[in-house]
Symmetry: C2
Subunit: 330 residues, 2 copies
């Protein structure tokens, strides 16, 4: 491991946009060593007043939708504006789906060499909560380092979308034109979280199909209840080859931001996200302690089996386990 | 309060289909007296082997969609088959929305006098978890009493749909034809839970609009990922005035049941629901203990405020509260 820096060195390095120090600080937040954890929290507290100034965008879509090529092209559109762009990824299953996400950096080879872009692959351990927390902390560090747009990529097949939705301002769902089989992989509820659906690969004669899909998604989105922010999700077509749609997507993101800042939901949403994160962490921590308890661990499987077979009422089974937990704590 | 019966009297009464005793047993499960709770659990354990033989149907829809009149007519269609039908309701907000649900029994005056039907209004206290548990227990008691179809009604605007979805075999969403403003009340995610959408009030010249809505919902449902049971949600039109659609709705419910029994998901879904209920209860119980802790209760608001204002990291705030909780338990 690298030599640790002082809080001051980390903080000043980050605030002056030193990428090497930013990377080292992110690595520090990913460490599981107790001393590193304490240091990381101190660095985060120190830069906290300088965070929150980026546009946070979540991007998801099933494997094959072209996430990496989309981000490569969209990222470069942003750096030309010019905007400083950081790309992070949440993929708790990355040991399996290696290469489907940022592991294979060659998929973003132009963006990775762009002086205004910063790409950080996902941490590969820690469970969903752990990985999400690390991504959240990386996001704050990138903001403190002056990045104006943070893109958080997820694979679109697991629980990670809900977690990402809980840390971004804008949620972009990438979809393919043929609205059939490829939907199998998208988890229920994800479409309803989208602020914008972009239909990828609208090129090479695929345009008519994409336009039809656009209408279908627009109609479907109209059937969803509008969310409380007053924003109506939009549908656009785009292409990473022709760069079609990149400008329009950015305009939609800016329009969304302007609306939410105007009506006060922008700040409220972020406050809400912070609170949800706090309560999520408390819940996880309480449950961890419970399920790791020796008696609970010992009897849970048998009790669960009885519930499955309808031999025991779920509520009685829960009471039994809770009694085991509380009795052996006293 | 009524005099309590013995476990044997309750059990025998329920198993022989004695409605008065069934009602008294349900009242017993709703009681908050410790002695009643123990007795109720014993009665439930005793009848448990006789439960699980009904078709459990959840019905939801926003106020104004015509839930009560639909259930009145659909219930009578079922009793004519003949099927014994019990109607329960979950409405944690019932003190406010009194009359919108079963409180106003006159809305189902024919069904309420039907010898094959049993209608039980919602308990009006206990929070969502408590009310849901009581409804779950009432469902089991009705099954033990020989009811073949259990309809659980919810108001369609809160969290109760997810809870009901977690206790039924089939989820029916009632919708109005004009797919516009009336959707405002439907909570996100409810449409994706539906096994069938029935468009109500398809009568009095409303037919064309209903048919258009049917096509729109069908198209929208095709955009959702199919659920793992292999069931594709359907859309039908119906009318409580002309009784149009009642037969078709029942046929869809039977087709769904046959498919799921055939592929094994019927039993698996019920086992899963039991487990989820057990884990939900454990989670609620752990959190309750945490948030009722004096130190947590004392400092939570201040800490929450700091998180909201972005002055404290959510994870640090969570750690602080957890430390307060664990320190003062030792």
């Amino acid at each position: 491991m690298l030599k640790r820096l002082s809080i001051k060195e980390y903080t000043e390095g980050i605030l002056t946009g030193n990428r090497m120090i930013l990377s080292r600080a992110i690595t520090l937040t990913e460490s599981n060593l107790p001393a590193d954890k304490i240091l990381a929290q101190e660095v985060l507290e120190a830069v906290l007043p300088h965070t929150g100034n980026s546009i946070r965008i979540g991007i998801t879509g099933v494997p094959g939708v072209g996430k990496s090529t989309f981000i490569e092209v969209f990222g470069q559109y942003l750096t030309k504006l010019p905007k400083k762009v950081a790309v992070l990824a949440i993929d708790p299953s990355s040991p399996i789906s290696k290469g489907s996400i940022l592991g294979d950096k060659t998929r973003m080879e132009k963006l990775v060499n762009d002086p205004l872009a910063y790409i950080r692959p996902t941490p590969t351990s820690g469970g969903l909560g752990g990985v999400a927390n690390k991504t959240r902390e990386a996001m704050l560090l990138c903001e403190a380092a002056g990045f104006e747009v943070i893109i958080i990529e997820t694979v679109g097949v697991g629980q990670s979308e809900t977690v990402v939705h809980g840390m971004v301002d804008f949620f972009l769902l990438l979809m393919l034109a043929g609205a059939g089989d490829e939907l199998q992989g998208i988890k229920k509820g994800i479409m309803e979280m989208a602020d914008l659906i972009a239909i990828t690969k609208t090129d090479s004669g695929n345009e008519t199909q994409a336009d039809l899909a656009k209408v279908a998604y627009q109609n479907a989105l109209h059937l969803f209840p509008p969310n409380q922010t007053g924003w109506y999700p939009e549908v656009l077509t785009c292409s990473a080859i022709t760069e079609k749609g990149m400008k329009e997507i950015w305009e939609v993101i800016e329009k969304h931001r302007a609306l939410l800042i105007g009506n006060g939901y922008f700040q409220e949403k972020r406050s809400q996200q912070n609170l949800e994160w706090m309560y999520y962490f408390i819940k996880k921590s309480l449950e961890e302690k419970f399920y790791e308890h020796p008696s609970v661990d010992l009897y849970r499987k048998d009790i669960q089996q009885e519930v499955c077979e309808g031999k025991k009422l779920p509520i009685n089974a829960a009471m039994e386990l809770l009694n085991l937990f509380y009795q052996n704590r006293k």
